[in-house]
């Protein structure tokens, strides 16, 4: 899994490429915790190139959502591929974390 961050205005856009599973999810959490430690509160996770997510990945995203909520920030997800969207839908995560078709839409 590859993670790249960039700033778009006051939002951090985090692009995750590959698979978020029990092995790689901790790396994602570590990266985002570092950004939160730097004072960032607004996040868009760009999942256009994420092929797979398991409960470990969902847990990391939920943990991020809880931290962002505490800091009164924002967490949006963008560009989910069909298999990933399916997992979000089944688990009920689609209705608690805003999902957008594009990074631009998610940043607004």
């Amino acid at each position: 899994m590859e993670i790249t961050d960039r700033n778009q205005d006051d939002t951090v856009v985090v692009s995750v490429k590959g698979r978020m599973d029990a092995i790689s999810a901790p790396e994602f959490e570590k990266d985002l915790d570092a950004r939160i430690g730097q004072g960032e509160t607004r996040f868009v996770i760009d999942l256009a190139e994420l092929d797979y997510i398991s409960s470990a990945g969902l847990r990391s995203i939920l943990a991020l959502a809880k931290k962002v909520k505490t800091g009164q920030g924002m967490l949006h997800l963008a560009a989910l591929k069909a298999p990933v969207k399916e997992v979000f839908d089944i688990s009920g995560f689609s209705s608690i974390i805003p999902i957008f078709d594009s990074v631009d839409a998610a940043c607004r």
Partner: protein, 137 residues
Amino acid sequence: MPEIRLPARLEHLEPLMAFVSDCAEARGFSGKRVQEIQLATEEALVNIFNYAYPEDRVGDVRILCWNESDDTLVVEFRDSGIPFEFDNLGTPDVEASVAGREIGGLGIFLIRKMVDEVDYRREEGENILTFTLQARE
């Protein structure tokens, strides 16, 4: 009958998952279905890695797979760890908000959604978790 056996540790997740994917692909499941089976496999394995052998206990996980009838694949996960409380696992509240949502509970839930039939039994000191998968599209 194809079988793989490795120590029940996260570092072995990938070859264990690849074994099951290979079985599903050989059985003719579609790419989408293989991915769903992969997800259920990861969830089953991570549960075993986390719970089967507590403290200093070490042990293996074994996966067997075979065909039953024309369009059914059976995948069996076996470990010799402590008894698995399969029926006592709660269901995550999929309607809860971010604040109310608990971090755990998703693994078995996702398995049940991805696999046609899931069974658990304990036999001669082994936990045996069985997936029955119909080739369906």
